[in-house]
Symmetry: C3
Subunit: 343 residues, 3 copies
């Protein structure tokens, strides 16, 4: 995106704490994949299968594992974890622009809001009463920061983020466009056939280093809070119901939905389009594969799955018809077994 800023390999290796083999005076300005890299590019080899691309790369330098170094025609940065070092190097070359404190004249900021002088409030953004915005915070264009929200230092609201009333945002939190944090959860009592809304007076609390994807929705708690713990990463178009709790460093891929009051532990991975019922307990280190249908608690670590992978439709129609007969088929099998035994 932004043109990278030039840095010498020597400075980069020192920054990243990795070994440089080759000319430290060579400078790189941006990252690129091996096959498309130019001499001003830094690239990386994360998977040995691409070693032939390595041998022919025009990159100015490559991050790779020790065993691959000899195959590279360019200077190398050697590490046991090339992907992680590449992540850091790429951020070094393509940093977010520095946050310059101030309030755009088109923003509408309530007099009672407390904006740190080192925070930026972008154009056409609304900051409501009693909100607090910490140092180094970037609030992009078109955001809404509701009454009483608190945003911790160095967090980024990229653009068009909606924080409803009272949302508590930690430090270095990254909120993507269109996410809606803290809307009133889906809670109703029945009065005959009619639904009566139950006021939702809890809040949403996001820990440090949390990330929330584009157009994702996180509902506020009914009475207690909805909590997303430090380091959790939530992708796009995800629904998190009221009073859910997501543990530290748990990652959820796009299109998943979690019903109210379900608690997910630490270091879990939830693949795309997973659905979870409410009031479940998911332990630490649980992994659900894509489109899993989670209808009970899974307290133990492990990998869990469900769903039928796609197949040719004609074949699928036959299997589905048999699925509906499964109970009958099982009974018939039992009958056959009994008959055989009797003979």
């Amino acid at each position: 995106m932004t043109a990278g800023s030039a840095i010498t390999l020597g400075a980069l290796a020192a920054d990243l704490g990795v070994e440089l083999r080759g000319d430290g005076a060579v400078a790189v300005t941006r990252v690129a994949v091996l096959t498309q890299a130019e001499p001003d590019c830094l690239s990386f080899l994360g998977d040995r299968r691409y070693r032939s691309a390595l041998e022919r790369t025009r990159a100015g330098a490559v991050i790779l594992a020790p065993g691959d170094a000899q195959h590279c025609p360019a200077p190398v940065l050697v590490t046991e974890n090339p992907y992680l070092v590449f992540a850091r190097a790429a951020r070094r070359l393509h940093p977010y622009p520095p946050v310059v404190g101030g309030v755009h004249p088109s923003a509408v900021v309530d007099d009672s809001a407390r904006i740190d002088p080192g925070a930026w409030i972008g154009p056409l953004t609304v900051v409501e009463a009693e909100a607090e915005v910490g140092p180094g915070v970037f609030v992009g264009p078109g955001c809404i920061v509701g009454a009483g929200c608190v945003i911790g230092a160095e967090s980024r609201l990229v653009a068009r983020v909606t924080l409803c009333e009272g949302v508590q945002v930690g430090r270095r939190v990254l909120l993507h466009p269109g996410c809606v944090i803290g809307r009133e959860g889906f809670g109703f009592a029945k009065d005959g056939e009619r639904w009566v809304r139950i006021p939702q007076i809890g809040r949403v609390r996001l820990g440090d280093d949390v990330e929330i994807g584009a157009n994702t929705t996180v509902d506020r708690g009914a009475i207690d809070d909805t909590v997303i713990a430090a380091g959790a990463k939530i992708d796009n178009l995800i629904q998190i119901g009221h009073n859910c709790e997501i543990g530290e460093n748990t990652a959820m891929a796009a299109c998943s939905g979690i019903s109210g009051s379900t608690r997910i532990g630490r270091n879990c991975t939830i693949a795309g389009a997973v659905g979870m019922a409410g009031h479940l307990e998911i332990g630490d280190g649980v992994h659900f594969t894509g489109m899993a249908m989670v209808t009970r608690s899974f307290p133990e670590p492990g990998v869990y799955s469900s769903g039928i992978p796609a197949m040719p439709s004609a074949e699928w129609r036959r299997a589905v018809a048999r699925f509906r007969q499964l109970d009958e088929l099982a009974r018939r099998l039992k009958h056959v077994e009994d008959e055989l035994k009797a003979k």
Copy 2:
């Protein structure tokens, strides 16, 4: 959220039409769960399993059923439906702030729009030509009210709601941030390999007391209207296709999607992540469980389900492999039965 306003138990019981047992001069200011309630809190017991929490609560008063009253150390409000009475009491203690009529100076309102003097148009909101906004309506920050929209009395557009052209909104409707009502539906004709858009000239009509969740999308009709009837409650991240009709008091949980021209009856509940094909007829009183795949009409009331609940992945892989062989397994079973019979 907002600090509650104090009210005596005597006044509250009269308001709610329930029996008070205890000191009517005691005042409460907010709601809380039994275990965290302070003496200024109103709490409730909805489920007898929590009776031990009731016995130890510090709440100033508790809403509960007649049979539980003797176990409560505090004054009680007695009712056969504690959850419903709690919903009403909570709204009494935590009301929406009153709507003060006016237009924020940063809003952009077309000269031909008709805004009731008792309606509020919030900051950075756009109201287009010929739109009508009724008395007591709250249009929060960052909304777009398209040309020719009509919004009935006392409706709330919380924030960042988009009403496309011509949307008809009933009274006391609640629209959450990010919802998009009335975009042109997904209708195309084929011209060889190319798709040609079919103009969508119908509207969306939302009945009284409808609620639409955050980032939900409701498409406008192709020629006739898309209709959501009075009292229907639609959660977050739901897609409602063009020309769908949703019956009165039907509730849909998050992440569901309904294809075009499907009609759902009254008093249905659609759990999370349900998918429905188009042109179906779903009767009154139909209930779909989470992630149900609805590919045919269900005219009769009842509970319907589909999907395979998650299980350990190794076990799942074996079952899936067998699923693909189901038709063959059924044929082999039949063969075995025939052989046995022949013996």
Copy 3:
């Protein structure tokens, strides 16, 4: 929506290049379905099953296939493809309002942005540095056009569209409210238990005539670009991960999600709520039915399906229990077969 503009059947037939049978001086002003049409309405018969409605219609004219012409009481426009001709006629009667060049005074446009004098920038829209907006482009209210974006001629950003940095938009592209194009994709490296974000420096490129639905999200590429080719139509609430490629004229229905680096060919149709894993290759002419779970590549054209259609819950519970025993059932069947053979 907008009142149509009157046109005579003679002019309409000439415009559309179809045969008129009847009085060419008759004028129509809007489209309607056969059963509700008034004499100023144009209607169409796309499906012969509705022929009885045709015989009783009050429409001023009807578009239909040659074999149906004799059954119509009104003048007819005759074509082999009534639905396609109707699409074009409806656009002729209900055109988008012409785009009048200019910038609304409430918009915030960076000095370095290049706005064609024939483009419209709507109220409360932000256009950031170095963005380019072509002739005839309509940017509706509340949009954000990020730094360095390029928008081709005659594209429409209906309202509240977010283009992140560097998005390349072709000509005649239609972007619906709430879509977020070009957010940083979901890419992380692991540092022990913590996730480290990998900067996403690719872009999103949308070809000519692409359409993106409401609240849909398209992530930008990690290093290379995410690409949606000309004529592709993407519905609401869809997630397209980083580095995906969608082929020409492929259509995707609402609520689907595609994980990163998956490539879909030309002329595919993806029904609603389909989930696709990452790094797959889907060929040209592939069709997935609703809620399909796509976990492997499908290079060959064809129709593919998965999922269990909804059934009464009691029946479903029994079938699911048996599903978990499937591997055991298959082994028992094999055992029975072997025993029989041995007898």
